[in-house]
Amino acid sequence: MTDLRRSPLHEQHLSLGAKMADFGGWEMPIEYAGGGVMKEHAAVRDSVGIFDVSHLGKATVRGAGAGEFVNTAFSNDLDRIGPGQAQYTLCCDEGTGGVVDDLIAYVIGADDVFLVPNAANTAEVVRRLAAAAPSGVEVSDQHEAYGVLAVQGSASDAVLQSVGLPTGHEYMSFVEAQWRGAPVIVCRTGYTGERGYELLPPWDRTAELWQALLEEGEPQGLRPCGLGARDTLRTEMGYPLHGQDLSLEITPVQARCGWAVGWNKPRFWGREALIAEKEAGPKRLLWGLEALDRGIPRSHMTVTSDGRAVGEVTSGTFSPTLRKGIALALLDRDVAQGVEVDVDVRGRTSRFRVVKPPFVRPSTKAS
């Protein structure tokens, strides 16, 4: 294994007995001692959990016309939001329309956009932006300037209030707060399907904030949750994971991320390729699969219908909420919602129904 980068909470994870693993070049917790994926998943669905996602990238795009420039690069229409709001968007390849990364863009102001890309793709996103930036717009990789903590679940407001952080702002909006003299961005975002917040404290204050939240959040049942539960939570929501359900080989049209594309914009990377694909109709589409037996699907397993290969599982797991196997799968366009298909699970055939995610009803916008 090459040298892995470490979160500012590395020591905290070890002292909580976390199992650590490589996530996009970062050594991060999968699950904690006394927890485990099932308990940690249930904490978020039932009350509240806290995740360290400091491995996520951070980058700034600043200077006259920064927002305008980002809007000519990324897929979603940044004009749909204003200062204090965030947006899910895609960085596509100009030639193919394949997805370099999916990310969140925070509009601080017209000349100041903050980006949170995936850990493994941050350098590439920054490289592509910097190469295209007009003079006066500066793109800067800030990977280790901020930590990221996700507090997710219905009790997340109470947990934030217990340490004096602001709550109650709208879904996909953010507030810049002061906490013990440090600036902390508090965003109403997440990757679990539950009401929750993502906090961006300065890198070297992240451990202090994590500790305070864990202590003050105890009465709410706040539990540290690893990236194992984060994956089962997001899969239940049908949220794509870059590198599995989205990639340079998988376009937003195929992955049903067309809602995050500003089709009427005159320019964004990959526009021509994506419009052509949309008009022709994609060859394959991302669907959900729900197990009809005890099979648990995993990435890259083959999906068949009457013995004919019709696609491939891109993400698969056991759903702790439904207590059965679920998957996201890229299927040929002639496969319809509701039909039954087979998945080759290590040489055994398991039966699945084709469904439209989410598998579990989200409450991200619940008040």
Binding site: I30, G36, V37, M38, K39, I296, F318
Partner: protein, 126 residues
């Protein structure tokens, strides 16, 4: 940490002798490595199993692992409780999380398995 009165395999099964049959499960190390176990697939009663060959599966939220028969013989019991409560393998691997009972073809074959000390030594230097 591993009971001294049991025998072990390199594949992380434990074996307890009980008269003419042996009870089989997976070790604490195995359940810890697998994480939360959600399905256990076991051979049927009456099935013939071969030492060192896969005869079942333990599946967790994140991965799946074969269960290897520690000895050759006939399956005489399977822990049906695990169908509904597979988490017993995590909470009590040497007790309620047992998996199956086998009548060995050769009762002496159990003596060829590892003792607790040798099993643990193998964990430290893989």
């Amino acid at each position: 940490m591993n009971p001294e009165d049991l025998r072990y395999t390199r594949e992380h099964e434990w074996v307890r002798e009980d008269g003419g049959t042996v009870r089989v499960g997976v070790t604490d190390f195995a359940q810890e490595a697998l994480g939360d176990i959600v399905f256990v697939t076991l051979p049927d009663v009456g099935a013939e199993v071969t030492a060192g060959q896969p005869c079942g599966e333990v599946e967790s939220t994140k991965s799946v692992s074969d269960i290897y028969a520690p000895v050759s013989g006939t399956v005489v019991a399977r822990n049906q409780t695990l169908d509904a409560s597979p988490e017993l393998v995590n909470s009590d691997p040497y007790g309620e999380g047992w998996m199956m009972e086998i009548r060995p073809d050769d009762p002496a074959s159990v003596q060829g398995l590892l003792d607790a000390g040798s099993y643990e030594a193998g964990l430290e230097s893989p």
